[in-house]
């Protein structure tokens, strides 16, 4: 059925994107941060519209797209992320560029792409949504066109991104050849009914897809683009890369692996488990040696992707109930991780706007000059490390419990050990802020009002999830239930 009302919130986002572009063309003398406020208003409208769709009966668009609690979850996440990044960008971009319309427009488009990705139940639709997200990001990463590093980052990101898209497409075409369908349900049916002697083709198709999505979520060994892209991109875009873009990758993985590929879990689960193990270990070990804060965060986010992949592996190893449990834990972890990362970047952008310094060394003595920012940064890093009272503790606990429940005790243990390693380099950052004296002549200053308030609010969210994850868990549990409702047929066919 063609129900065009299902995506009204995304029409608002796309409309706002065009509106922002038009606004700049019509009023070229407008202050650049006015565009940020306009974008934020658009994103807020999008968010509010999305809230109206929470709790609706699942909607279906020609079997290509499905709106349900799962879509609603990612829609809220996308709108929230765009809203936050727009606010983060306001002053950052005003100081650095003269034309900002495309930046904000593309930001909104990227968010819309993310929602579509979480709704897609057909391979080509998913591919198009993914490219909508990726192309927006290619431009956003290189948006500071006078900055050589930004250009380099964008180029690397495009080349590797195109490479990964090609792999994904190749995998999709093989799957189509095998099953004669591109809808997830059709693929699942085709895979279940495939004849003898097609194992190799199925394996090749699935491995290509795993590699393709591995690039998107920056899983090692497909993570090479991430440190450069994170470092070169404008700081708010780095925040978007680390949160929304990664979440979108996992939205794709969840829909794809619980429905289309669930039947062939035997073929991919070991690969995903290995990918999880390599990703978290490599991310955390490489992070130790970093001196640039953005690169450190890139590697730390690679480590986080490793933890998230534990849940994906658990989907492959567990039965339907364990898989649903794992999906729900993954969604919860994504929510906690997104909040922590946004809080961290709000503080970092405030710091960077003032100093322009993105080295870890530059945080020296921050607790004396900007104690609130130092507090927010520490709390976010604690949350990443999984220390109690912060979101990371509760979410990682459920994540690793889901892994253990699916029989992946070793992977959960490795995750716990990795969290311990990560604490080391997070503490090294905190050491700079708390135990070193600030550079000569710097005294205590107030944090900027907007970014300070944002950081404070996000921090409250981080602590809330850490102390009382119940309500958010209920939401993610509902989203996971919707996901498995859509793929019940596929899971019933599990070997």
């Amino acid at each position: 059925m063609r129900d065009f009302t299902l995506f009204i919130p995304e029409y608002i986002a796309a409309g706002a994107a065009i509106g922002v572009l038009a606004l700049e063309l019509a009023l070229p003398r407008l202050r650049r941060d006015a565009l940020a406020w306009a974008t934020a208003a658009g994103a807020a409208a999008w968010l509010i519209a999305a809230l109206f769709y929470v709790g609706d009966a699942p909607g279906d668009f020609e079997g290509l797209l499905r709106t349900d609690a799962f879509t609603a979850y990612f829609r809220i996440l996308a709108a929230g992320a765009v809203l936050a990044v727009a606010l983060l960008s306001a002053r950052y971009l005003r100081d650095r560029t003269r034309a900002a319309g495309e930046y904000y427009g593309l930001l909104l488009m990227a968010g819309a792409g993310m929602t579509l990705l979480s709704a897609a139940r057909e391979l080509l639709t998913a591919y198009v949504a993914l490219e909508l997200l990726s192309f927006s990001l290619y431009v956003l990463v290189g948006y500071l066109k006078r900055d050589a590093r930004s250009n380099e980052a964008s180029l690397k990101y495009i080349l590797l991104g195109a490479f990964s898209s090609a792999m994904l497409l190749y995998g999709i075409s093989l799957l189509y050849g095998l099953t004669g369908s591109t809808t997830y349900a059709g693929v699942a049916e085709g895979l279940a009914a495939r004849g003898e002697g097609t194992d190799l083709a199925a394996l090749a198709a699935i491995m290509l897809i795993v590699a393709g999505v591995g690039f998107k979520v920056s899983a090692a060994p497909f993570h090479m683009w991430a440190p450069d892209a994170y470092q070169g991109a404008p700081l708010p875009v780095t925040a978007f890369l680390a949160t929304a873009s990664k979440a979108a990758g996992f939205a794709l993985i969840l829909r794809l692996f619980t429905e289309a590929l669930a039947v062939d879990a035997l073929e991919w689960r070991a690969a995903i488990a290995a990918l999880a193990a390599i990703t978290m270990t490599a991310g955390n070990l490489l992070a130790i040696q970093q001196t640039n804060l953005k690169r450190l965060l890139a590697y730390s986010s690679i480590g986080q992707a490793g933890y998230m992949l534990v849940a994906v592996a658990a989907i492959g190893y567990g039965d339907a109930a364990a898989a649903q449990n794992a999906s729900s834990a993954l969604l919860l972890h994504i929510a906690g991780y997104t909040l922590s990362t946004m809080a961290l970047f709000a503080a970092l952008v405030a710091h960077y706007n003032r100093t322009g310094d993105e080295s870890i060394e530059g945080l020296r003595g921050l607790s004396a000059t900007q104690p609130f920012l130092a507090l927010v940064i520490s709390a976010s890093l604690f949350s990443f490390a999984g220390l109690p009272f912060f979101a990371g503790f509760a979410t990682k606990l459920l994540l690793f419990q889901a892994g253990t429940g699916a029989g992946l005790l070793w992977l959960a243990g490795l995750g716990a050990a990795n969290s311990f390693i990560s604490l080391y380099y997070y503490l090294m950052v905190m050491r700079r802020m708390y135990l070193f004296d600030p550079p000569e002549g710097q005294t205590r200053i107030r944090p900027p009002a907007l970014l300070g308030a944002m950081a404070g609010l996000l921090l409250l969210g981080v602590v809330f999830i850490g102390v009382y994850p119940g309500p958010v868990f209920e939401a993610t549990d509902g989203a996971a239930a919707a996901l498995f409702e859509a793929s019940a047929a596929a899971f019933a066919r599990l070997p």
Partner: protein, 486 residues
């Protein structure tokens, strides 16, 4: 409801202190004192309302994280083992606030940290949900780190970081064990785990037991995991030393009885002999190392290692008498070492040195403080009619049958303690009068009198009337040793 109020009352007072306006910062100590006194009063009320032998009482229970297979409760309760420790904590909190009255640097934050520390320790002693227990255990790190690194002395940052790293490393093991246990048994409820026993966990039970023990042993501490303690004590401000020696170390001993022995009695039987051996080794090692110390606080820290070794020895014997002795030793050591650190801290405020070689003849210049130090020293040696004596005798009597050799080693350690305490007293209190401390002055403020006298009075009370606590400990510990079957 009472327990929830009791646990969070100090933190609430700390928050109030933190929120005082800047020009009222000096009232922070009064706010903290009021909170600490209120908590003490409440804990005493619970102490006298407690029904000996009635199991877990004053329970507060609510569902907290209910996520599928994973139910975590908010569950506080006390029994005869934990209630005396709760009272000890509230009492030492009052003492710690009193000795901090002379703090000038960032008072509001200081008292906030101190009171949050108190809340976290109270939470550890009352939490009956394993995950909640772990959260309180970890909560204590934040205020401790700040208290040592901001208000400490010497290599304070190094010591604070060392403290955190040791504890976190221990808790990593602990968390793995807790999850393995709870996921295997399907509940985090320590009362249920302690009654039904655990047949299997996700990991072999031996590992679970070992991991739990490592986590707690760091805190106790045992040799060779003790090296953070002298550093932390040496560089911490007085009140923090009091809390650290007085109650934080007890978290380790309490947790070993409450979880290792109660939940895994079979493993405790198998490894009791190791507890006794490690305990005896700690007693001897701690005692020997004190002779090499030149810093009074580090000396007391090593004597703590020695005394906490006795606790582990008592637990290792697994009998009711020995474990009651271990619990009593925790209380006695908390009071006595608390008093030692208070007195030494007050001396440091006057002389600004803790070097034994630079002190001397203080009996003339600070008679009251010198008397306090002598009293605490004698109590620490185990002079009859003082708390330490009761505890040590009970442990030795209870453990002698099980581990004769370990008790003989430990008794030798006690003899050594008489040696190092007397030698220290001789060097610090007696000897030639030093002119540089002539104008340093004696204990003179009311808060100094109050903290020293209060602690000394309790040391005497527990020495002459042990049944006050013994009657409470006995049934609770009896239930534990009945589970072990000895």
């Amino acid at each position: 409801m009472e327990l929830t109020v009791l646990v969070f009352l100090p933190a609430f007072a700390g928050l109030l202190a933190l929120l005082l306006p800047a020009d009222r910062a000096r009232y922070a100590r009064w706010v903290a004192l009021a909170g600490a006194l209120a908590a003490l009063g409440l804990s005493l009320a619970l102490f006298f309302r407690f029904e000996n032998g009635g199991g877990f009482q004053f329970a507060d229970r609510a569902s907290w994280i209910d996520a599928g297979a994973f139910e975590v409760q908010y569950f506080l309760a006390v029994d005869g083992l934990s209630l005396p420790l709760v009272v000890l904590t509230t009492f030492l909190t009052v003492a710690a606030v009193l000795v901090s009255f002379s703090i000038e640097h960032r008072q509001r934050a200081y008292f906030a940290c101190l009171m949050v520390l108190s809340t976290s320790v109270l939470g550890v002693f009352t939490a009956m949900d394993f995950l909640l227990f772990f959260l309180f255990w970890e909560l204590e790190l934040f205020p401790m780190y700040l208290l040592i690194s901001v208000w400490g002395s010497g290599r304070r940052e190094y010591s604070a970081m060392k403290f955190v790293l040791y504890t976190v490393a221990g808790s990593a093991f602990m968390l793995v064990a807790i999850l393995a246990l709870a996921l295997g048994a399907g509940t985090f409820d320590m009362a249920v785990l302690g009654q039904s026993g655990v047949e299997s966990a996700v990991l072999p039970l031996r590992w679970v037991f070992l991991f739990l023990f490592i986590g707690f042993a760091v805190k106790l501490p045992i040799v060779p995991l003790h090296t953070w303690l002298p550093d932390a004590h040496g560089d911490a401000p007085t009140a923090v030393s009091v809390m650290l020696a007085g109650v934080l170390l007890k978290m380790g001993g309490y947790a070993i009885i409450r979880t290792c022995v109660t939940i895994l009695p079979g493993e405790a039987r198998d490894y009791g002999v190791w507890f006794a051996a490690i305990g005896a080794a700690s007693v001897l090692y701690g005692a020997f190392v004190t002779f090499r110390q030149t810093d009074v606080k580090r000396l007391i820290a090593y004597s703590s290692v020695s005394h906490m070794g006795l606790v582990l020895l008592g637990i290792g014997a697994l009998g009711t008498t020995a474990m009651v002795g271990a619990a009593y030793q925790m209380l006695a050591h908390g009071l006595i070492t608390g008093l030692l650190f208070v007195v030494v801290g007050l001396m440091y405020e006057r002389t600004h040195t803790r070097e034994i070689s630079r002190l001397g003849g203080l009996a003339r210049q600070m008679p009251l403080l010198a008397a306090g130090l002598a009293f605490a020293g004698f109590a620490s040696v185990g002079l009859p009619a003082l708390a330490g004596f009761v505890a040590e005798v009970t442990i030795f009597l209870g453990a002698f049958q099980a581990y004769e050799w370990a008790v003989i080693m430990a008794i030798f350690g006690v003899v050594l303690s008489a040696g190092y305490i007397l030698w220290t007293l001789q060097r610090v209190v007696f000897g030639p009068v030093r002119p540089e401390w002539a104008g340093a002055g004696d204990q003179r403020h009311w808060w100094e009198h109050a903290s020293v006298a209060g602690l000394a009075a309790l040391v005497i009370l527990l020495g002459v009337y042990p049944d006050l606590i013994m009657d409470m400990l006995d049934p609770a510990i009896g239930a534990v040793s009945a589970r072990v079957g000895s």
